[in-house]
């Protein structure tokens, strides 16, 4: 079994209203030391099999076809150890 993770965030420069609200919430709770907050999505995928290289190509296709909105979002792919 293989597990992969796609992290999706708004591109730099694209406004993240959610991050802003979370940031001010943290401040209100006294967590002044937080300087910046960005909120994004994480998608965990499980595959029966496949080498990382092969899976990466497949996941990249999924991202460009469906998972990610390239106009406003960036993504990174990670592979996870089996747990």
């Amino acid at each position: 079994m293989q597990r992969a993770r796609v992290l999706i965030r708004n591109k730099p420069g694209v406004f993240d209203p959610q991050g802003k609200v979370v940031h001010s919430g943290l401040r209100r709770l006294g967590h002044e030391s937080v300087q910046d907050v960005r909120v994004g999505k994480v998608i965990d995928l499980r595959f029966a099999s496949g080498s990382p290289d092969e899976l990466r190509a497949r996941i990249e296709r999924m991202c460009s076809e469906f998972l990610v909105n390239p106009v406003i979002e960036d993504y990174t792919i990670q592979f996870l150890d089996e747990e």
Partner: protein, 744 residues
């Protein structure tokens, strides 16, 4: 940067060579880069209306009911009780094609601000959407994005989306239309204007911080889509409906104080257009210190700040000495604010950046001296190639009927409007799907408004003048069908590339047709919007002059169980009699949905409209509703009489009834054409049996042709002996699932 580079820089911003010469001439010097940015934005088609202005002058814009005509952020009409309805429609076509969710969402945000900037609390929104063919590869993505964006924004702000229209046609494959409308209400003598007055008065910036989003949005909306659009693409504007809601509440709270001199939202061309327009209206100038502008990104230049189209921002001129109110109210609502400048006597737009004058332009250069074009017009050749409709009667009329009900342009929109909060505000009396227009009670009163939006762009393609007239007529008919009186309109004129003479011909024809109809219905144009360059790869969209109309009821009486004095569309019960007002001409098949879905033809001409008959039919229906005579009223529009009857049987809540059609088939040559032609000026009503003869004689007295169609049955079947016998359920099923292929 040398002068040649500057010229190129200007050209890359859409400023033509002649236009650049004009800048040099007026200015008497070379502009700075910042100034080029400012000029290009203000002279863009979107901000300057340079190709359309000469035509828009033809619109009727006055009348006793007009409180505020075109030229302000929104128009306003008197609705009685000391109140005004403030409304406008806006397009967000280009941004929505690039990023449908955010494009549509920020469109809603923009139109809401246009209305509350006038001091009116928004009470309802509508939208008018055009997508490419339903089976076009990109349509599902664009459709779900746009619908999601409207829902995401409008629901959160808490303004109900109570209606709209959606059409699918290949003409929009490369350029969808997203038009959004909002109406608000305020006291008619408490309207706020976007004007800068009083030299020395401080200018405040309030709302969200400025980022780099949407720089050049206005210029982008002023060019066709092409392969290069990708590179010019600005950072997409992301809407924050939460902040919009705070801004709405904060502005309305500030308006209860006496500190505001003028207020305007920052829409297209952001800070630039809001300051310049306010200065222009006040015949004064504005000086801005760019370093004071609240920003949310680092190292922004004045150029970027001036052209940014970040959302949820407003500009307010405050009376000197009363600045404290801004801090008190905007701090309370957790919004950013800053005094960024002041009103100056010289009619100039001055912007300082790090102590230096980065922009110093005469206001008139950006407004009255902006170019205006009476672009060449030419009757398009395609009109002469149109052929009359040829369509055989179907072998199975019932089957054809069911198929028509499932057509994407006719089927139920419930899957869409269920995603819109259409009830927040507890004012929605006639909900989407229930009637021809939405009816919204005005909070704290017994008054109500009726609102609707319409345009059949196939009709406009066949004949822009007649098509535009038909759009106004259908709006007025929709308003009349719920029992309200039409008061005024706003419009969104969506057309192709204005450098195509054929497009300008369509434009000019449509404006004239609209004007004629608006005069006939006494519905002046009080606001509107022009969206040109709706073309991709040189193919223009169908001309789409979308009309949104507002009507009023003086009073909604609460009767036993429900309000009276208005009507919805559905049949009420067994034994009620069904009457058609108006005239059916089976030659009115051009542009119809039936002709298109069955024969893939457009035909030669749109249905013929007789404005006098139209007015008489509408007056009759309004009067009979006021008398409490009618149980339902529904006009014949897309899909003709057949679809109207089916919709009346289906009803909004699925209490399907049936209908026995009792007309003599021998007098009708082609049942299919009779049922599905789209002659205008027709309304189907139902009455109690006891009221039938009174109604028929009223019609006679009013000079309106009336036909008794038949009788409502509890048995859910549509029966026309010898012609048709269909379970209502079959029609209902087709109607309900027409859009489901978008979900596959």
């Amino acid at each position: 940067m040398n002068n040649l580079d500057k010229r190129r820089f200007a050209a890359s911003h859409g400023v033509s060579d002649e236009e650049y010469e004009r800048v040099l001439e007026v200015l008497g010097r070379e502009p700075s880069m910042t100034e080029i940015g400012v000029v290009s934005a203000m002279w863009s088609e979107h901000c300057s209306y340079k190709s359309s202005r000469v035509h828009l002058k033809k619109f009727p814009t006055t009348g006793p009911q007009v409180v505020q005509g075109p030229g302000e952020n929104a128009g306003a009409v008197d609705i009685g009780g000391g109140l005004a309805a403030v409304f406008k429609m806006e397009s967000h076509n280009h941004p929505s094609y690039i990023e449908p969710y955010q494009g549509a969402a920020t469109g809603v945000g923009g139109i809401l601000r246009d209305v509350f900037t006038m001091g009116a609390r928004p009470i309802a929104s509508l939208n008018s959407l055009r997508f490419g063919a339903i089976d076009h590869a990109r349509t599902p993505y664009l459709f779900h994005g746009v619908v999601g964006g409207i829902a995401g924004y409008g629901n959160c702000v808490g303004v109900p989306t109570v209606g709209g229209e959606i059409y699918f046609d290949a003409s929009y494959n490369g350029n969808i239309l997203v038009n959004v409308f909002t109406v608000g209400v305020c006291k008619k003598d408490e309207i706020f204007l976007g004007v800068a007055r009083g030299v020395g008065n401080p200018v405040f910036y309030v709302g969200a911080g400025t980022g780099r989003d949407g720089i050049h949005g206005a210029t982008m909306a002023s060019a066709q889509f092409s392969d290069q659009t990708e590179e010019k693409r600005p950072t997409v504007q992301v809407g924050d409906p939460f902040r919009e809601k705070l801004l709405l509440e904060a502005c309305l709270e500030l308006m209860k104080t006496d500190v505001i001199v003028g207020i305007q939202d920052m829409g297209a061309a952001g800070l630039t257009s809001s300051s310049v327009e306010m200065a222009d209206r006040g015949k004064l100038g504005i000086r801005i210190d760019a370093d004071k502008i609240p920003v949310r990104e680092e190292n922004m230049s004045a150029y970027e700040m001036l052209l940014s189209e970040s959302q949820e921002r407003m500009l307010i001129v405050v009376e000197r000495g009363k600045e404290d109110a801004i801090a008190r109210i905007f701090d309370k609502w957790e919004l950013e604010w800053a005094q960024i400048g002041e009103v100056i006597a010289e009619q100039r737009f001055e912007v300082y950046e790090k102590g230096e004058l980065a922009c110093d332009l005469p206001v008139s250069l950006l407004t009255s001296a902006a170019p205006q074009y009476d672009r060449p017009r030419k009757r398009p050749a395609y009109l002469d190639a149109l052929k009359p409709a040829v369509i055989d009667a179907p072998d199975d009329l019932g089957q054809a009927f069911v198929e028509l009900m499932a057509s994407p342009n006719i089927c139920s929109r419930a899957s869409v409007y269920k995603q819109f909060d259409h009830m927040v505000g507890i004012g929605t009396v006639v909900r989407p799907g229930m009637g021809d227009a939405a009816v919204v009670r005005i909070p704290g009163t017994e008054q109500a408004l009726a609102i609707t939006v319409d345009c059949n762009s196939r009709f406009c393609y066949l004949d822009p003048r007649e098509g535009a007239k038909l759009a106004v007529a259908e709006c007025a008919r929709n308003i009349s069908c719920v029992g309200a009186t039409p008061l005024g309109i706003t419009d969104c004129l969506n057309f192709g590339d204005p450098t195509h003479p054929e497009v300008m011909w369509q434009f000019s024809e449509a404006v004239e047709g609209m004007s004629e109809a608006c005069i006939a219905f006494d519905t002046p144009v009080v606001s509107g919007n022009v969206s040109l360059y709706n073309a991709s790869f040189d193919k223009d969209i169908y001309p789409t002059p979308t009309v949104a109309m507002v009507g009023n009821f003086s009073r909604l009486l609460e009767g036993p169980g429900r309000a009276q004095g208005y009507c919805d569309a559905s049949f009420k019960g067994e034994g009620d009699r069904v009457v058609l007002f108006g005239r059916t001409d089976t030659n009115d098949i051009g542009g119809s949905e039936y002709l298109w879905t069955r024969a893939a033809q457009l035909g030669q001409r749109p249905p013929r409209l007789d404005l006098e008959l139209e007015k008489a039919v509408q007056r009759l229906v309004r009067d009979s509703i006021a008398q409490g005579l009618l149980l339902s009223a529904h006009d014949c529009a897309d899909g003709g009489l057949g679809v109207t009857l089916a919709e009346c049987c289906i009803g909004a809540e699925g209490h399907a009834l049936g209908l026995n059609i009792e007309m003599d088939i021998d007098t009708i040559a082609r049942a299919d054409l009779f049922l599905f032609c789209e002659s205008p000026s027709r309304i189907v009503v139902s009455v109690r049996e006891a009221d039938l003869s009174a109604l028929v004689s009223q019609a006679e007295a009013a000079g309106v042709p009336s036909t008794v169609i038949g009788t409502v049955t509890a048995l859910p079947r549509l029966v026309w002996p010898g012609v048709l016998d269909l379970p209502t359920g079959d029609l209902q099923h087709a109607h309900k699932h027409g859009l489901s292929r978008l979900d596959a």
